[in-house]
């Protein structure tokens, strides 16, 4: 931090400067329709109104937030689920007119005293999965949306031509304007719109504007992310955070929305009008001090952000390398955090919302772009974060500069780095096996480590290349699997096992082969394989703290519920366990970080004036979690078959993988499958792989059995009406639907356990329709 105390006026990024004819751009705008509203004071974290925009019907209205809605759905993602339930049909798909894009805030969103309190929750029906995808994101948009008067924004319908939606908290007006002349790619568009809508030509005024956008890549793929801007007064740059997963940006562009702009008049530390601001300051300051004293000895977030994970994952064989074939690699030290620390600009603070002293949002300023339309220009790259580095490892790119290049273009094109990277890694593996080749890849030589080809793929997708491969490649692994199988190229089983997707969504960047619980953490999820529901690898694999199926099921109940809670409130998960109190290890349950859980109890009470205990936090989540699963069931998914995961995430698919960890796998065959050494010696690798394959598949099904039972679901993974009623969810349409689906499953013979239980083993319940007794 030696670069400290750079006066705000003096810091220079060295980026290429752009001169825009803003008057001309603005003059080209035509207001299509608008709506005046009256902003009321926020009361204890709630604006008590949501904003509804229908682009097809040219309608804008305000919806009331009822007390019942708060009681059942809390806020944030919960509100999003409620709004979707009221608006879509089970047949709604990502590009249906009635599909909605929702940006929601939560009662604690916009608080400045507690680190990590500026998250927006975005929901839509995903192009990748055909079910709800929720994604959380930093940046100023969420807090400003609330301070402009709305707990959530709900957009339905589609515009005819590119529009911007402007929520002006200063004029108290929402307007839909055509936007023909702006750039589409986010790093330029955010800059243009921030300058266009700032009240004055000052950094302070620019800091009061936030833009949501997605670039050309989002238009032409299913990997579209949403870029949420936050103006950095030190760098004088519109920085961006991404709602990455599930193609939210593709939905934005499908609706012909170029950007959403929000602007606030002013705000301060008590704009949420918390019930108890002193308590809030007390709890927040306590955490600031903890971060001050401990972060540099724990995660070092303030210096390098989430990149500190690269070396840890590499050490524990968890860093996905060459499409998850391996968990570590000799070249990995080239992308360890010290290498990125050298490149990061050390200007603090780096929080993506005010008051976040965890400050994990790092940048590289003045980065010289090496390829594509911005080649030669100097830009600010936000990141990379761990996941993006993991993608680098997965594609076998071991140069920090190429990871930055990949990061920059994915961001500005509005592409999710995770889906893009994981998918390219799969294409590269298929290329290695000859299932894909240069001809089949529209001229791209997609071998592992070919950074130029990887970037070229990204550029061509963003350009809307109509090549047979490129038009399917941007739709992700699931579609490419179907395409390859349809073409008859390669072995179907190999293709299914290698492609790291579940439910149609690409995996995030952890190797889960040796952690059964984490396989569940990816597979037994709502939206697909993302680690935001649970991260249990150390608890399971390293510390062996959850050895039985029941233990794992308990963890796969508690942690997904706990982590869901952040999304209901507009919070970031990181300050919960990426810094821990000094005495955390001595507490009853260190993995839960009890002191921080208590902070959150006090925090939510201090804002809302509620008087809840920690158990209620889990209940708040359970309501929404079950609601979302029920909606998945309603849309035809959310069953055991949909919780399928590829074998690459469970164990060694290929002989090379087995050989690379032969000792480990042989040992397991002896210890877990009771093979004698003699028997083992007689078997060739193919046979050993097969034995392990069947064993691990069965383990996963047994895990699913235990988890479904613990969560109060049927053996086919459907939330039971009895469970819903226990949670206080009494929506008749929902309960009737669940009854009907469970009966359908019953007739189809699907209400049975998935594991093969032998002597001495028991399924979670021996009673048929056990839930009816609850």
């Amino acid at each position: 931090m030696v670069e400290g105390q750079i006066p705000i006026e003096e810091y220079k990024t060295g980026n290429t400067e752009h001169k825009w004819d803003l008057k001309k751009i603005k003059f080209a705008h035509r207001t299509l329709f608008s709506h005046k509203y009256k902003k009321r004071d926020i009361s204890r974290g709630f604006a008590n109104k949501t904003l509804y925009v229908n682009l097809s019907k040219k309608e804008i209205k305000e919806k009331k937030v009822t007390e019942d809605m708060k009681k059942k759905f809390t806020g944030g993602r919960g509100f999003g689920l409620k709004l979707l339930w009221d608006s879509i049909k089970p047949s709604t798909r990502w590009n249906s007119d009635e599909n909605e894009l929702i940006v929601s805030t939560g009662p604690l969103c916009g608080v400045t005293q507690y680190p990590g309190s500026g998250k927006s929750l975005c929901l839509t029906i995903s192009p990748s999965t055909d079910i709800i995808c929720d994604s959380n994101v930093g940046g100023f948009f969420g807090p400003y949306l609330k301070f402009a008067g709305f707990d959530a924004l709900e957009i339905q319908g589609k515009a005819k031509d590119d529009v911007v939606i402007v929520i002006d908290g200063e004029k108290e007006e929402v307007s839909i304007e055509t936007a023909p002349l702006e750039e589409t790619n986010s790093h330029l568009l955010s800059e243009q719109l921030t300058n266009l809508y700032a009240s004055e030509d000052t950094d302070q005024a620019r800091q009061k504007v936030s833009i949501v956008s997605a670039g050309k890549g989002a238009e032409n793929s299913y990997w579209g992310c949403l870029n949420f801007s936050f103006y950095d007064i030190r760098r004088k740059v519109c920085r961006m955070k991404q709602a990455g997963r599930g193609g939210l940006g593709s939905v934005l562009r499908n609706k012909k929305i170029k950007a959403i702009v929000v602007k606030v008049k002013d705000f301060d530390g008590v704009s949420n009008n918390p019930a108890n601001p002193d308590k809030l300051a007390e709890v927040g300051t306590k955490l600031h001090k903890e971060i001050r004293d401990l972060d540099r000895y724990q995660c070092n977030m303030r210096a390098v952000g989430t990149v500190h994970l690269v070396e840890i994952m590499d050490e524990y064989d968890l860093l996905p390398t060459e499409n998850y074939r391996f968990g570590c690699f000799p070249k990995a030290p080239k992308i360890y955090s010290p290498e990125f620390y050298k490149l990061f600009t050390k200007v603090i603070p780096d929080g993506c919302w005010h008051g976040c002293t965890m400050a994990c949002a790092k940048t590289v300023d003045g980065f010289t772009v090496m390829t594509g339309p911005y080649k030669g220009q100097k830009v600010t790259v936000d990141g990379p974060e761990y996941e993006t580095c993991g993608c680098g490892a997965n594609m076998s790119l071991w140069d920090p500069l190429w990871i930055l290049e990949f990061n920059f273009y994915c961001d500005t094109y509005g592409l999710d780095t995770i889906s893009t990277g994981t998918a390219i890694a799969f294409y590269m593996e298929m290329y290695e096996y000859g299932i894909l080749n240069k001809k089949r890849c529209d001229g791209l030589e997609l071998c592992f480590g070919n950074a130029i080809a990887a970037l070229e793929l990204v550029h061509r997708i963003a350009k809307g290349d109509k090549g047979e491969f490129l038009s399917i490649a941007g739709k992700g692994i699931r579609r490419v699997k179907d395409w390859l199988i349809d073409k008859g190229w390669g072995d179907k089983q190999l293709i299914e096992d290698c492609g790291m997707e579940s439910k149609g969504l690409e995996y995030s960047e952890y190797v889960t082969k040796e952690s059964l619980a984490m396989q569940g953490g990816y597979g037994l999820t709502l939206k697909g394989p993302q680690h935001d529901e649970a991260w249990l690898i150390f608890m399971d694999m390293v510390n062996n703290a959850i050895p039985t199926f029941e233990d794992k099921a308990e963890a796969l109940h508690y942690f997904p519920m706990w982590r869901t809670w952040f999304g209901l409130n507009g919070l970031c998960k990181l300050p919960w366990n990426d810094v821990e109190p000094a005495n955390n290890a001595e507490t009853d349950d260190p993995s839960k970080v009890p002191e921080h859980v208590q902070n959150y109890v006090e925090y939510q009470n201090a804002v809302t004036g509620w008087n809840i205990e920690k158990e209620e936090l889990i209940l708040q989540s359970e309501r929404c979690y079950n609601w979302q699963r029920a909606m998945n069931v309603w849309m035809g998914r959310g069953r055991r078959k949909d919780d399928w995961i590829p074998y690459r995430s469970m164990g060694p698919v290929t002989e090379m993988e087995y050989k690379s960890r032969e000792e480990r796998y042989d040992k397991q065959l002896i210890e877990k499958l009771k093979l004698s050494k003699k028997e083992l010696e007689k078997k060739n690798i193919k046979e050993k792989i097969k034995i392990l394959y069947e064993f691990r598949q069965d383990q996963y099904q047994k895990l699913a059995d235990a988890v479904y039972f613990r969560r109060g679901w049927t053996p086919n993974g459907v939330p039971t009406p009895q469970k819903m009623k226990q949670l206080g969810l009494d929506d008749k349409k929902m309960l009737d639907m669940l009854k009907e689906k469970i009966n359908e499953d019953e007739k189809a013979g699907l209400n049975v356990w998935g594991g093969k239980y032998t002597k001495g083993e028991k399924p979670p319940s021996i009673h048929k329709r056990y839930w009816e007794k609850w």
Binding site: G4, D268, R292, G355
Partner: protein
């Protein structure tokens, strides 16, 4: 812009102090127009084992880096100044102050701090306080060393 090279900071002579806390009263008067002192005062005199110690901002300026909205700046006279109108009350400066002298009172969400105005010096009947000139670079060195730089 001319940058300040030195700044006046408070020096305390504990042997002279009798613990009357006139300094705290004068300070809370400056910040909150009240004689309450204590948590409304930027300077605090603490009695420990019959000895007095002073806790007050040394104008090191680490907090300037912490402020997300640029509300903390170093003024021409070298002091670190919090602009209450810009401040959004996040308490980052309070939490990260290495000597915990950025203060927060219940009177408002925005913190407050010593601005070397000298009110406490003038109020002290025992001449136990004095404003002395220090090199800013020296102050910074100490704090950044402590922060692990």
């Amino acid at each position: 812009m001319d940058k300040a090279k030195t700044v006046k900071i408070l020096k305390f002579y504990p042997e002279k102090c009798k613990g009357c806390l006139e300094c705290e009263k004068a300070c809370s008067n400056i910040h909150f127009k009240t004689d309450e002192g204590k948590e409304k005062s930027a300077i605090r005199i603490i009695k420990e084992n019959k000895k007095f110690t002073m806790s007050v901002c040394n104008q090191c300026g680490l907090c300037i880096d912490m402020c997300p909205v640029g509300a903390l700046t170093r003024k021409k006279n070298g002091i670190v100044w919090l602009d209450v109108n810009k401040c959004i009350g996040c308490q980052a400066c309070v939490g990260f102050c290495p000597i915990e002298t950025m203060r927060k009172s219940e009177a408002r969400i925005e913190p407050f701090k010593c601005i070397s105005c000298g009110a406490c010096v003038r109020a002290c009947p025992e001449n136990a306080l004095e404003l002395v000139e220090e090199e800013i670079d020296e102050l910074k060195k100490i704090v950044y060393y402590k922060q692990g730089a």
